[in-house]
């Protein structure tokens, strides 16, 4: 049995949210810089250049890439042989979020209750926490700062088996085209296919936080990812939605076993400020 202190979790979570709020991943930066060379729209190229310059300013000055520093989502994989000492596991994560947003000049965007009062919690908590117990004695933390311009453009549909591959593609393309400029393209598209209603949505969220050079291990789903990326970019939405061929940087598909009667599909859209960071304790 290996032990870690709850305070170590708090520190790690705070560091991860600060890091991803200030510094975009090398994969996204490279994809934007590559797109500047290939984007046919002059306005689109100018938009991509601003996005690239913005990454540089944010990283150098240690300021937020985007003022919407998001709702905090944490995926935790807890080794079953790991003992967490001197604190509550979930509260340790919430405290990490609190410290990052209060001390890091990040915007506090969370309201305690969604419908009647919508009162701001003033420290960006609570974070959404997804925990899995896994073999081993380590703790893997993935921090995702999810902006709501793109979250609001996401969608889930319970397709039926007869809808098939074409139905899945149609739903994804419609979701991206209807979103147009709103989710701050170029976007990263996370797709969850199968499972249940909530499983599809969680998979889609996980898809938005994968490295851009990652592809589905199943060659059929990898092909579908590649086909969808090409078709999304052929929609013409372009950088900032003002027209062009750089609408998405990547489509990530995750799939899961599902019911004989169902074909759930969730599409979680993430803006070009695809902020996530991970650490193993």
């Amino acid at each position: 049995m290996r032990s870690i202190q709850a305070a170590q979790i708090t520190q790690a979570v705070a560091d991860l949210f600060l890091e991803c709020s200030y510094c975009i991943g090398d994969d996204v930066r490279q994809a934007i810089d590559d797109a500047i060379k290939t984007e046919p729209s002059p306005i689109g190229r100018n938009t991509l250049q601003q996005i690239s310059d913005n990454y540089t300013i944010a990283a150098n000055e240690r300021v937020a890439i985007c003022q919407d520093t998001g709702m905090s989502v944490v995926f935790a994989e807890v080794g079953q042989d790991l003992h967490i000492e001197n604190g509550d596991f979930e509260e340790a994560i919430q405290q990490g979020v609190r410290e990052a947003y209060l001390q890091g000049y990040l915007r506090k965007s969370i309201v305690a209750e969604p419908l009647f009062e919508r009162k701001n919690t003033k420290d960006n908590t609570p974070a959404i926490i997804h925990t899995r117990i896994v073999p081993g004695d380590r703790l893997k933390l993935l921090a995702v700062a999810k902006g709501f311009g793109s979250e609001n453009m996401s969608a889930l549909k319970m397709l039926v088996p007869a809808d098939g591959i074409e139905g899945v593609k149609r739903f994804i393309l419609e979701t991206v085209e209807n979103a147009g400029p709103n989710p701050c393209p170029p976007i990263v598209i996370g797709v969850g296919i199968g499972g249940t209603f909530e499983k599809a949505a969680i998979m889609a969220k996980q898809g938005t936080a994968l490295p851009l050079d990652h592809s589905n291990a199943d060659p059929r789903y990898k092909q579908l990812e590649d086909d969808l990326l090409r078709e999304v970019n052929a929609l013409g939405v372009g950088p900032g939605g003002t027209g062009g061929r750089t609408t998405a940087l990547k489509v990530h598909i995750l799939y899961a076993p599902t019911h004989i009667a169902g074909l759930p599909v969730a599409v979680n859209i993430c803006c070009h400020a695809a902020r996530h960071a991970s650490q193993v304790l």
Binding site: D53, Q67, G240, G243, R245
Partner: protein
């Protein structure tokens, strides 16, 4: 792309000369406002009470800035998605609002009012929030401090980068731009 350098506040003649797709910079004073501030402004208008900000010739920026770190006038401050303000916007345009800065689609009610009263919708690059903040030289809370980031701020801006997305004739770059680049058959 050539750039038109605009000074705020805007007059109707200048606004009506702008066309969708024009690259512009904006310099002068603007006011910030998001969902909650808009709701309060409209409640005042509906009750016939005075507003905390002038509207005639003015420009509203849809933004909720991040907190300013030491040495900065404002934290990162990119545009938020504009459609959430659509239910409130026509009443502000009727009272002289000339410019709006945001990102994303606008509804037909807003576009009709823009044509009627002579107003322009500027798009700023969503997510380019640290870059945009460099053009904001001063930030003062004018109304609703209880709203935090959603309070109405007065920004003094210099060469704020934007694009005319919807002009006073109703031309819309979000419609015409993607049509140019959409592959046939889709």
């Amino acid at each position: 792309m050539s750039t038109i350098h605009l000074t705020l506040p805007l007059d109707e003649k200048t606004v009506r000369s702008l066309r969708a797709g024009d690259a512009v910079t904006l310099s002068g004073a603007i006011y910030t406002g998001r969902d909650a501030a808009h709701k309060r402004l409209i409640e005042l208008i509906d009750r016939g009470e005075p507003l905390p900000i002038p509207l005639e010739g003015e420009t509203i920026y849809y933004v909720g800035p991040a907190p300013a770190s030491p040495g900065h006038a404002v934290g990162s401050a990119g545009p938020t998605t504009s459609y959430r303000m659509d239910p409130y916007t026509p009443k502000l345009l009727a009272r002289g609002l000339r410019g709006m800065i945001g990102k994303g689609l606008r509804g037909p009610g807003v576009v009709d009012a823009m044509k009627q009263y002579g107003a322009v919708y500027f798009g700023a690059v969503g997510g380019a929030a640290a870059l945009i903040a460099r053009s904001i030289q001063e930030s003062t809370v004018i109304a609703y401090p209880d709203l935090g980031a959603e309070a109405i701020h007065r920004f003094v801006i210099n060469e704020f980068p934007a694009i005319v997305v919807i002009d006073s004739l109703g031309n819309n770059l979000y419609e015409t731009g993607p049509k140019l680049y959409k592959e046939a058959g889709l």
